[in-house]
């Protein structure tokens, strides 16, 4: 029996949600609760070892919000379940998001508690977006933030994404390649990311190609004749012997030899790079660059550069591909207002700042020095980072998500951060984010109001149960 593989597509993506979004949606609909809600998506705390996060994923989220629909097949599936009435499912068929979205641009560094996105709209609509918006912004921000560290460690050497095989699934594969490129990664091995997003695509060769040939030199020769300015993988049997075979090939090919590099993928990469460089240089092959791969991350890349290893580029796979030291963020999508009233929780350790907000980034001499997190309508200091990107369910006209623009913006914005924040070492002190006086006062006001309502409810319950 041949089954088609299962994919998330435009046809079924509306069901890529937590069941409770749909049951709450029906409840809001039944209770006729349709006043405007504000949901704020932010990270409660930065993971250990992260000095900032690089916001990413907005482009995909806006595309999704504009186009997501419950088609008949999805409605039929929900109808098979017990929870949903026919009237509600009829209403769901016409579901469109009609609200507004505020967001920081992709490639903007953000800090804990700062909203990456705020969604304002009829509560049912804004609630329903929760799962998808979190899923996409979360993992793309996780991966962009990790990649920015790797790029920072590599300095002026190129970083290439080799991670597809160990990323978590197909969707992660294409979107990580895009997020990495925004964060400064030069290219990806992922061909589909090239087709869909225009990320530059590159590649070398695998050990299997060498192994399948009876002689290593035969494999090098065939590849070099076919691809010209290619990169040859030299560590299948003995790295330095492999490099000598590249020299041999160069002598053999003469002027036709255009191989642009060798790749080292095992052993002591820094030392092998030094030794390989010498062999290449002695043979007059100064133009053949050395690339390294295999278990790389920001720390061992920084070390190799510190040691002066003559490596021109790094192929980074697993460590960056799953952000292995911080694969998840403490991210939340929280109701901060409903029916023109700020809302919050009192749960321990899970503070909510009420209402719509704005991030003000304060710069001195061209460098960012601190942020102030304030209320959306206050005239705060510095540059406001949250912009209206969707109005009445439609993308704001000048709002795009060009990959090149986002990449350029990320570079500029990261360059503006203080050096200790850009560093891969934990920054002390961390980047300062202050809560504005107006937001503090509003939080106190709403906290008091919620506590009062709780007390009133409790005493009325007491009266009730003493009946």
């Amino acid at each position: 029996m041949t089954d088609q593989p299962k994919w998330v597509t435009a046809d079924n993506a509306a069901l890529l949600t937590d069941q409770y979004e749909l049951t709450m949606l029906q409840a809001y609909w039944r209770e006729e609760m349709d006043r405007e809600a504000v949901f704020s998506l932010y990270v409660r705390r930065l993971p250990e070892g992260r000095n900032y996060l690089l916001a990413c994923g907005l482009g995909d989220v806006l595309d999704y919000i504009e186009t997501m629909r419950f088609n008949q097949k999805s409605i039929d599936y929900l109808a098979e379940r017990d929870e949903f009435s026919d009237e509600f499912l009829d209403w769901l068929k016409d579901f469109r998001f009609s609200g507004d979205v505020y967001a920081v641009r992709e490639g903007t560094p953000v800090f804990s508690e700062e909203p990456i996105i705020e969604v304002a709209g009829p509560i049912a609509e804004a609630q329903l977006l929760e799962t998808f918006v979190m899923n996409q912004i979360h993992f793309q921000t996780v991966l962009a933030s990790k990649a920015a560290r790797v790029v920072s460690a590599a300095g002026d050497r190129a970083v290439v994404d080799f991670g597809l095989r160990r990323m978590h699934g197909a969707d992660a594969g294409i979107k990580a390649a895009r997020a990495f490129h925004i964060a400064g990664v030069a290219a990806t091995s992922n061909v589909l990311a090239g087709q869909l997003y225009g990320v530059p695509v590159t590649g070398t060769m695998a050990h299997s190609y060498i192994q399948a040939h009876d002689r290593e030199l035969d494999a090098f020769r065939a590849f070099a004749h076919l691809y010209g300015d290619t990169i040859l993988l030299v560590d299948t049997y003995d790295t330095l012997e492999g490099v000598r075979k590249v020299v041999e090939l160069a002598e053999e090919m003469g002027d036709e030899f255009r191989v642009r590099g060798i790749r080292l993928d095992s052993g002591d990469l820094a030392q092998l790079a030094v030794d390989s460089r010498k062999i290449l240089d002695d043979a007059g092959l100064e133009n053949v660059d050395i690339f390294a791969s295999g278990g790389l991350n920001e720390h061992n890349i920084a070390e190799m550069i510190e040691e002066g290893a003559p490596i021109s580029g790094f192929g980074v796979g697993t460590g960056m591909g799953v952000a292995d030291d911080a694969p998840a963020l403490d991210i939340a999508y929280k109701l901060t207002a409903y029916a023109e009233t700020g809302r919050l929780k009192l749960s321990s350790g899970k503070k909510i700042l009420p209402g719509r907000k704005q991030i003000f980034r304060i710069e001195e001499n061209g460098g960012a020095v601190r942020d102030v997190l304030g209320r959306a309508d206050e005239d705060g200091p510095g540059r406001p980072l949250l912009r209206k990107v969707m109005s009445g369910g439609k993308r704001v006209a000048d709002e795009d998500h060009s990959l090149d623009e986002a990449r350029e913006r990320a570079r500029e914005e990261i360059d503006k951060l203080p050096e200790r924040i850009r560093s891969i070492a934990a920054a002390e002190p961390p980047y300062p984010v202050q809560i504005s006086d107006a937001l503090k006062a509003y939080q106190r006001e709403i906290t008091e109001a919620v506590k009062d309502a709780q007390s009133a409810e409790a005493s009325s319950a007491e009266r009730g149960s003493s009946r």
Copy 2:
């Protein structure tokens, strides 16, 4: 401008590959290298803290191999690039995998160096599958293995997957829910995983729903009337006050009250469960169960159970959703034979066992005691785990990947493991995997042959350069 969101689908999935697979493919095609290759997919070392891995992802991989095609749009994209000749692209249009696949069944515990899949076929075809097969088997095995630990810690209490919002992308979301269910997770919040794979779907309510109501009790009442046997989230303001409101609602609703549980999502979950249980029991609500969520993993679940917390089920999100303590495996897809000759590498730390292999699991008194990793054709001891699942590019007739069967198999196979291996503590000693004498001898033979070929190549090079 409205863009369609980007998805990986049947139309473009053939391009979800590393560029080097395609350049090597063209090289094999040009060199007319079309003899049979064997590639073996295995994990080199288990991550710290894992006693076994639960193999997962085979179903998706077989569906993909049977159906993947380069359509015209994909061919056009490749034609725009410099690397590929028109003749090669014509050939690629008709690309079909025509080889054989051997694999352990989904839900089988495996150990380091044991092949999860072996692909045998013309080298170009078997090579091309590398990236996709690794991507899917890797992350699904990562997540199933993590979930098996959480399920083991939870014992007879249910574990529910709440992880979609923090998983890495849409594809991970649906396939993780399936992998988790195979590993023993009872249900998922992910509606699409229900539709596509038949995983049981469940859900409760979010804090936002409570916050949007002026009184917590109003929210509880509306939900309980609409959904009957639902679960109410009690920790938005004050957990025990929340529980008292559930009691109040029960008094108010009388016989109509069918709420089946409360959910605790913050604070000291074990203590709050004890206190909540007392409030519920004192009110005669012994049938209302307590569910816990919020930052759960196998360790804190085991602790809560050890403390005797009266919790019936656990909603587990992030920790399981990204396997945060081991989000990646040192997985490899390595050429082990070509043209009927075993192949390996000599790279440091990256040993390859040559040829096709078989895993023999040896059981005593119904329990697994050790594995022997041998050659495919040897008559090894114990139960062979690798089965031919695809022959000549077609799935073997009796080979399916029913979710229920895989789940049942996983339960049985995990139950057979020694207790120290099933435990969430690091097992000492680890599960024994021995290499058979025949495989050891073959590895020696091939290693010698490869070294001899290397020496011969080196001395011929020396002669060459002394000319």
